[in-house]
């Protein structure tokens, strides 16, 4: 085994591991009173290094490291998305966390560990590694959710998250072990080979799929495994919420795509495509419909995220007709839009609670730039051109129709309109109503930078998506032909 090559291939993970450990140790060793202001920067450095490492791995032949971790276009692109996402979270979480927690080193190392888990998951090609990665991610997420110990809400949210997660993980483990029992292998290819003979009945496969979906669905917050999300999103501190809305999704979808496509190819495909059709439709609809009643912006964004997971599942359902590219693109669009939205929420919540929609009243007059940014993020989430979300949705619809899932597209279209209704409620507050307070919203510089970057992302990817698409196409095409 070529150690150097393996190390290189594993470099992103290694970097993240080292960075996380270093931050944790340094923070533990330093005196209690000292300022932890260096931690975010250290985290950013680590993330940047990991990003560089990932980029360096692009363009190479797909390979499976140690037989369990794939290093291919999918894993690299997803990894990069996750890294960028977490970097952005780190960026705008700085001032926020400064106010609320004295010792913050742990926070950042936890984030890095979570990112590590995500990174592993993007390439996991063995069911054991999948499970390990998912659990690792879950644990890190639970802690992050409850991080601000003084807040009762955070703790409650964390407990709820943990209970749900543990249960669904167990269910998934059961499913995975069944799979091992049926096929005698833990690698995805091995599973595929094991199922190929047709020796396993359809009903059994479906059952296994459902069980596994429990765990994956939990991660991506798909219906009916989504119950934890609104409470967790609302209870956790906003930067963590932002992370939760992005990180697990990237991980979950990578696993989902890889898992389904490679472990269950061939005729078995019709099974999981149908399953995903159903899940996607239900997720979108429930997510959107419930969002209509929300007054708390974080809960609203939570349900919106649930619905967005539904749209993303369309991409998974149409993997065989090139769904991977729009899936990754849409993840990118969603990344910028969601993170941007949460950045705005962070900016608004300096000092006061500011989480009710009513607090956004008249924002267009108090802080036009912030309102405009929020408007663009919400519109991108709704899929209105010329923003990134629109391009992503059209791409998803194209591959879905190609796969013959016209009904799903119709449902998605109707859902987009429904979603616009509640996004417009926020817009309405910002633009149509008059402000309750008069003062301008003071926005810290890192937050401002985040918002700006997100706006640029959402707009640029909408007008010139070719900035990103060729990369994704090339990467995806290497693993799933016809992407």
């Amino acid at each position: 085994m070529d150690l150097a090559l393996t190390a290189w291939q594993l470099s992103p993970e290694l970097v993240l591991l080292v960075a996380g450990l270093v931050i944790m140790l340094v923070d533990a060793l330093r005196p209690r009173e000292s300022d932890s202001g260096w931690a975010p920067y250290a985290a950013l450095a680590g993330l940047a290094a990991a990003l560089v490492a990932s980029v360096s791995l692009l363009g190479r032949e797909p390979d499976v490291v140690l037989g369990v971790l794939a290093v291919d276009g999918l894993s690299l692109v997803a990894k990069m998305l996750a890294l960028v996402a977490v970097a952005i979270v780190v960026l705008f979480s700085g001032p926020f966390m400064k106010e609320r927690a004295s010792r913050r080193g742990e926070f950042y190392s936890l984030l890095l560990f979570a990112t590590l888990a995500i990174s592993i998951l993007t390439g996991a090609s063995d069911i054991v590694l999948v499970f390990l990665g998912l659990d690792f991610l879950s644990i890190a997420s639970y802690v992050l959710t409850g991080y601000v110990r003084e807040s009762k809400r955070s703790s409650e949210a964390a407990i709820k998250y943990f209970l749900y997660g543990a249960t669904l993980s167990a269910v998934m483990l059961y499913g995975l072990s069944l799979l091992y029992g049926l096929t005698g292998s833990t690698s995805l290819d091995g599973v595929a080979a094991g199922l190929a003979g047709g020796s396993v009945g359809n009903g059994m496969i479906l059952a296994v799929l459902v069980l596994v979906m429990a765990g994956l669905g939990f991660k991506i917050a798909a219906v009916p495994f989504h119950q934890w999300a609104p409470d967790a999103y609302e209870g956790a501190s906003t930067p963590v919420t932002a992370f939760l809305s992005l990180g697990p999704k990237v991980a979950g979808f990578s696993v989902l795509a890889r898992f389904l496509y490679f472990a269950f190819p061939g005729e078995v495909q019709t099974n999981w495509v149908a399953l995903l059709f159903a899940l996607s439709a239900v997720t979108m609809t429930v997510g959107n419909l419930t969002a209509i009643w929300q007054r708390n912006i974080k809960r609203l964004l939570a349900y919106s995220s649930i619905a967005q997971a539904g749209y993303l599942m369309i991409g998974v359902a149409s993997l065989s007709t090139g769904g991977l590219v729009p899936l990754l693109f849409y993840l990118g669009a969603y990344l910028f839009a969601n993170l941007g939205a949460f950045a705005v929420v962070v900016a608004m919540s300096r000092g006061q609670s500011g989480e009710d929609i009513g607090d956004y009243a008249g924002l267009a007059q108090r802080s036009p730039g912030l309102a405009l940014a929020m408007l663009l993020f919400l519109l991108s989430l709704a899929g209105i051109p010329p923003l990134a979300g629109f391009v992503g949705k059209v791409g998803l619809f194209l591959s879905a129709v190609d796969r013959g899932l016209i009904g799903l597209v119709v449902i998605a279209v109707v859902n987009s309109v429904i979603s616009l209704y509640y996004y417009l409620q926020v817009v309405r507050q910002m633009y149509l109503l008059d402000p309750q307070r008069d003062e301008d919203v003071a926005v810290a510089r890192p937050v401002r930078a985040t918002v700006l970057v997100s706006v640029v992302g959402v707009v640029l990817l909408g007008i010139v998506p070719m900035l990103l698409l060729p990369l994704i196409e090339q990467a995806a095409g290497a693993i799933i032909p016809g992407s």
Partner: protein, 495 residues
């Protein structure tokens, strides 16, 4: 390199909007000036394009094409032909007049003019787009500014009207989008280019399935009964310039897209479905006119008159059903539809401008409370009467040219429909006369004695629009040539 005239026309307002957003919010005059200049550029550009179009050569002119998202197969492909050119001209005229009419707006003018200009970029873009993806981008680009414009600066039940309008339009266009995507995939060409997709041809079964989503999806914006209910409330709630754009141009966007996408791509299905749809258009015409007659609020009168007159447009489109038996009938009917889009656009622009002018001064929109205003605002009355006569189909004005052709074509294709639609003409005359009488004639109320006179900007806006109604009414030769060229090519393409 040739001047990218169409791109200038389309994007000049957007550039104007960006500049305006950068200005400090209290510099009202600068804001309005930028808006005026941006819209003037587009207006002049569209007039220039209109008069330099080579009718002998015909076809698509001023074409521009750049690669955009090859991954999906969409390019930035724009151009105009005989059908879209009058609509581009219409948009230019209305936006310029609209900016002038809004000159006195004092509430948050910066956002107002920026949104107005952004809206118009979307409209221009839709008319010149030759790529379906691009068309959708521009189409939906126009929707959100509408929401904000009505929701912030509107009047009666503005939030309800704004939300209703936005959701309706989005549902309609989303369904059309779904249909288009299915067509795209079925064609298998991997391109959204309209012309290429039109050549591809689709099998009749698929066409029949897709026609309703696409045609009706778009024509929701065209006010097709019974999907028109967003329109009267939207019209009434919107501020003046927005109503002008809304009824004058936006609704045409819907009908145009229904024609350009629905009929061009799915001609066989069009022959199947349009005979049913034409029944709806008769209801549009007659019902719209009748309800207009019954209104107390004069803005609602005009709102419903738009619903009524747009019926003629779709009616004219439906005459392509006569293509087999009488190509001449289809030619006339479709030409009439395009002419009606232009004529009604300007006409309703005048109507709403008049309504806005009056409301700004009298602060009431109830017909029984008005009266005798011809004495105080004679030019306004004259402009209204000109537009009103045009809407009745009085010869010498552009409305006659439009309705006559639609009538001729419709008679060929659906004689009964033609007869029924005439009821609409008489009822139209009735409500126009009622409006004129109750607003402009009769005794002048005490409280109106001191009304401010018409301003220079308002005067110019009204006169500018009237020139087109009268000019193309007396001398329709040039515009008819353009339209007929476009229509013949269109009909040839769908056979």
């Amino acid at each position: 390199m040739e001047l990218p005239l169409l791109s200038i026309i389309v994007f000049s307002p957007a550039v104007g909007a960006l500049i305006i957003m950068a200005l400090p919010k209290h510099r009202h005059n600068d804001i309005k000036l930028v808006a005026a200049i941006a819209s003037a550029i587009s207006c002049l550009g569209s007039i220039y394009a209109f008069f330099t179009y080579d009718t002998a050569a015909g076809g698509i002119q001023f074409e521009e094409q750049f690669a955009w998202i090859p991954a999906i197969g969409t390019s930035y492909h724009v151009g105009v032909d005989g059908i879209s050119l009058p609509l581009v001209l219409l948009t230019g005229v209305i936006i310029f007049a609209g900016v002038l009419v809004s000159w006195v707006r004092e509430q948050r003018p910066r956002e107002f003019f920026a949104l107005l200009l952004l809206l118009v970029t979307g409209v221009f873009g839709t008319f010149v787009a030759l790529d379906l993806f691009l068309l959708f981008v521009f189409y939906e680009l126009a929707v959100l500014p509408m929401y904000l414009l009505i929701g912030i600066w509107g009047t009666t039940r503005k939030e309800y009207a704004a939300m209703k309008l936005t959701l309706y339009l989005l549902i309609g266009s989303s369904i059309a989008l779904a249909g288009v995507i299915v067509a795209y995939v079925d064609a298998g060409l991997g391109t959204f280019d309209l012309l290429k997709l039109a050549e591809a041809g689709f099998e009749p079964g698929l066409q029949t399935l897709l026609f309703l989503p696409i045609f009706v999806g778009f024509d929701v914006l065209g006010g097709l009964w019974p999907f028109h209910t967003w329109s009267p409330d939207g019209h009434v709630a919107a501020p003046t310039a927005v109503s002008m754009l809304h009824a004058g141009v936006l609704m045409k966007m819907g009908a145009y897209s229904a024609l350009r996408v629905g009929v061009l791509l799915l001609p066989d299905a069009a022959q199947v479905w349009l005979p049913w749809i034409v029944i709806l258009t008769v209801i549009n015409v007659v019902y719209g006119a009748t309800v207009a007659f019954a209104q107390r609020d004069f803005k609602y009168v005009i709102g419903y008159s738009s619903v009524s007159h747009m019926g003629y447009v779709t009616m004219g489109v439906a005459t392509i059903c006569a293509l087999g038996s009488s190509p001449e009938g289809a030619q006339l009917g479709l030409s009439g539809a395009v002419m009606q889009m232009f004529s009604h656009g300007v006409m309703t622009g005048i109507f709403f401008a008049v309504v806005g002018l009056i409301y700004r001064r009298t602060h009431t929109r109830q017909l029984p409370e008005l009266g005798g205003l011809a004495r105080k605002l004679p030019l306004v009355a004259a402009a209204f009467i000109i537009a009103g006569l045009s809407s009745m189909g009085m010869p010498g004005l552009s409305g006659f040219v439009a309705e006559f052709q639609v009538l001729m074509g419709t008679y060929k294709a659906f004689p009964l429909v033609a007869i029924l639609s005439l009821i609409g003409v008489v009822v139209t005359a009735a409500y126009i006369l009622r409006f004129t009488y109750m607003v402009f004639f009769g005794p002048l109320k005490e409280e109106f004695r001191g009304l401010p006179p018409i301003s220079a900007a308002e005067k110019f806006a009204l006169a500018f629009m009237c020139i087109f109604i009268v000019g193309f009414g007396i001398a329709p030769g040039y515009i008819l040539q353009i339209i007929h060229t476009g229509v013949s090519e269109f009909l040839a393409a769908i056979q």
